[in-house]
């Protein structure tokens, strides 16, 4: 579920960083403005609780695998969305730094998928709506299960979209969705059951514990409307940025196809957006271009009109020389780096 740095492009990573940073700043302001500063140590300790709870795993009935508590939903129920978001974000940061779960660039994506979506979408829109004013045990149970499922499905969907727009993986969108969504449906049901069980247990064992935490930061019906508006705005911005990226990517792809099929200069839209994306894509596009061009220039102009199938077969072959020397050189430079490191280590150990 955690996105890795290796799977995303800088643009997707950057956009998600921006979104997550904005929500973090917003939540931090909300927490500061809140009168109850008791929530600050509670957040810290509950963040550690999520870690600890993940150590106690259980077997999922009917399968051989085991699962554990994810955390976003139970934190929202205990702390309210803002504090829960910050707590979840801090958990993800520690996971990225110490466990190599996710990465620094992917942190924005992970915070969005696993903190923003459950805390600011699934919790206010689903949990609060179902539970309503009078929280009966049955309602809490149903609400936690549905909200946890929806939160995880949204998160899985976001993982798929982020990977797809990054273009590092070859997995087709639909295949990836068919892989991710059912798996996370199962995980979501388990997470929901667990969340419901823990919340009702705590509610029975110590009614005060939930009341104090839920009373303060619980989203007032008036506030949730504004929250929804903000969320929609954010979604629109994100969606816009991502789709803009998607369209420039397609441009880049078409561009490469045009080149490899031997057609002359395609008039690409010379927008700033395009040139930025093109610069980012430089490596993919330039490589076939470079190795292809000498072949065209070397041959007569008439040969350019060869069928595209032939040309497509041709360019990888032409690529051979540069690629191989590139690989060799890279391997050598890595060897050099290793050697250098080894020598440095030795030198430092001696005195």
């Amino acid at each position: 579920m955690h996105m890795a740095d290796a799977l995303i492009s800088p643009l997707v990573g950057g956009v998600m960083w921006g979104v997550s940073a904005a929500v973090t700043a917003y939540s931090a302001r909300k927490i500061k403005a809140g009168t109850d500063e008791g929530v600050v140590p509670l957040m810290g300790v509950l963040g550690a609780f999520i870690f600890a709870a993940q150590m106690i795993n259980f077997s999922i009935p009917g399968t051989g695998s085991s699962g554990h508590l994810g955390g976003g939903m139970i934190l929202s129920i205990l702390l309210g969305p803002h504090a829960a978001f910050l707590t979840m974000a801090s958990v993800l940061t520690v996971q990225a730094l110490f466990f190599a779960d996710g990465g620094l660039l992917a942190l924005g994506c992970n915070i969005f998928n696993l903190a923003f979506l459950p805390c600011f979408v699934a919790y206010p829109l689903i949990y609060r709506t179902i539970v309503g004013a009078h929280a009966s045990e049955k309602r809490v149970r149903v609400a936690s299960i549905i909200a946890a499922i929806v939160g995880l499905q949204l998160g899985a969907l976001a993982v798929v979209l982020e990977t797809f727009f990054s273009g590092v993986s070859e997995l087709p969108l639909t295949t990836f969705l068919l892989l991710m969504l059912p798996i996370h449906l199962a995980i979501g049901i388990v997470e929901g059951l667990l969340t419901a069980a823990v919340v009702t247990f705590v509610g029975k064992a110590r009614p005060g514990a939930l009341a104090t935490t839920a009373a303060g930061p619980a989203v007032a019906p008036l506030g949730s409307g504004r929250l929804l508006a903000r969320w929609l705005l954010l979604a629109a911005i994100t969606g816009g940025l991502l789709s803009w990226f998607a369209s420039t990517r397609l441009d880049g792809l078409e561009w490469a196809i045009f080149h490899s099929s031997g057609k002359e200069a395609l008039s690409a839209p010379a927008t700033a957006a395009h040139s930025l994306a093109a610069a980012l894509q430089e490596r993919t596009a330039v490589l076939p271009d470079y190795s292809f061009r000498p072949a065209v220039e070397g041959s007569e102009a008439g040969e350019v009109a060869a069928t595209s199938g032939e040309e497509e077969k041709q360019w990888p072959d032409v690529n051979l020389a540069t690629s191989f020397s590139g690989l060799l050189g890279a391997a050598l430079s890595m060897l050099l780096a290793g050697l250098l490191g080894f020598i440095l280590l030795r030198l430092r150990q001696r005195p």
């Binding site: 579920m1 955690h2 890795a4 740095d5 290796a6 973090t24 931090a28 302001r29 600050v40 140590p41 810290g44 300790v45 509950l46 963040g47 550690a48 870690f51 600890a52 150590m55 106690i56 795993n57 910050l86 707590t87 801090s90 940061t93 520690v94 110490f98 466990f99 190599a100 990465g103 620094l104 660039l105 993986s169 070859e170 997995l171 087709p172 059951l193 667990l194 069980a197 823990v198 705590v202 064992a205 110590r206 894509q281 490596r283 993919t284 690529n319 690629s323 020397s325 590139g326 690989l327 060799l328 050189g329 890279a330 050598l332 430079s333 780096a337 250098l340 490191g341 440095l344 430092r348």
Partner: protein, 271 residues
């Protein structure tokens, strides 16, 4: 269980590495954070079929490992533990992209395998860079750097508190889990109701603890903010390190030296 226990012990070990002393450890945490981010952005900004231009980037983690005297085997083990997700997604590349991209002798290598190798290489580079950052900086200093770089203080306080109680609560969870496994002979006791009440117990204890901590902190004048008084100063070494790394990374990013080197050496070899 044993695996998780050891991975949490690892957590303390990673932080203890930060207390060693080396030129890299002495650098300003802000500088190290910025350089690491730049490194990661450079690495992931390559196209998906890029392999040769990525390999030279290995020089950065290798140099830091050597200069900071960190144990390479440990970092490698952490890398292996984290690999499955990237591996699971990357392994589909060879299945979906079968167009031949490279011939070595009579061996045909498809684009999918190249992008898979590229993806795993990115994974190794980015994750090792992040691990090295923590291992030669330490969590407290990183949080301080974040605060100075403008991250909201509520979030930084949250990170610091979370880190402080991580060890306490994982010990607590470990005791619960150990007690369960002693009574359940391995297999039973992993059903949902049992787990739910265990988690709820843990949560109740956590809430109690939070209450005690809060009272204690209030007695000492806590007002929602942790003050970090360690001085941070960017000296000449820091500036030199930053400029050197930036130039080197951007150089590696925009001018691929590998083919030239390969030509020079490879040409000589065949000659």
């Amino acid at each position: 269980m044993a695996k998780i226990e050891s991975s949490f012990l690892d957590l303390g070990y990673l932080d203890s590495l930060a207390y060693r002393d080396s030129p890299i450890h002495r650098l300003d945490p802000r500088i190290k954070l910025i350089t690491t981010l730049l490194f990661i952005v450079c690495v992931v900004s390559f196209g998906k079929h890029e392999l040769s231009a990525l390999l030279p980037f290995a020089i950065y983690p290798v140099m830091l490992l050597a200069l900071a005297k960190l144990p390479p085997g440990y970092i490698l083990r952490k890398l292996l533990l984290a690999a499955p997700f990237a591996l699971c997604i990357g392994v589909f590349n060879p299945l979906f992209d079968r167009a031949t991209l490279l011939h070595i002798g009579s061996l045909e290598i498809s684009g999918g395998w190249i992008s898979f190798a590229s993806l795993m290489l990115r994974f190794v580079l980015t994750v090792s860079a992040a691990l090295i950052l923590v291992a030669c900086t330490g969590f407290d200093s990183l949080c301080l750097a974040l605060a100075r770089l403008g991250v909201p203080s509520a979030f930084v306080v949250q990170l610091l508190l979370l880190y402080r109680y991580l060890f306490v609560l994982t010990d607590e969870a470990m005791r619960l889990a150990r007690a369960r496994s002693q009574r359940s002979f391995g297999r039973r006791g992993r059903e949902l109701p049992v787990i739910a009440s265990m988690l709820a117990q843990l949560l109740l204890r956590t809430l109690d603890r939070a209450q005690r901590i809060y009272l204690a902190m209030q007695c000492r004048g806590f007002d929602g903010e942790l003050r970090l008084l360690r001085p941070l100063r960017i000296g000449t070494t820091d500036v030199v390190f930053l400029i050197g790394c930036t130039t080197a990374l951007l150089g590696l990013r925009f001018a691929d030296q590998a083919p030239a080197l390969g030509d020079a050496i490879g040409g000589r070899l065949s000659w």
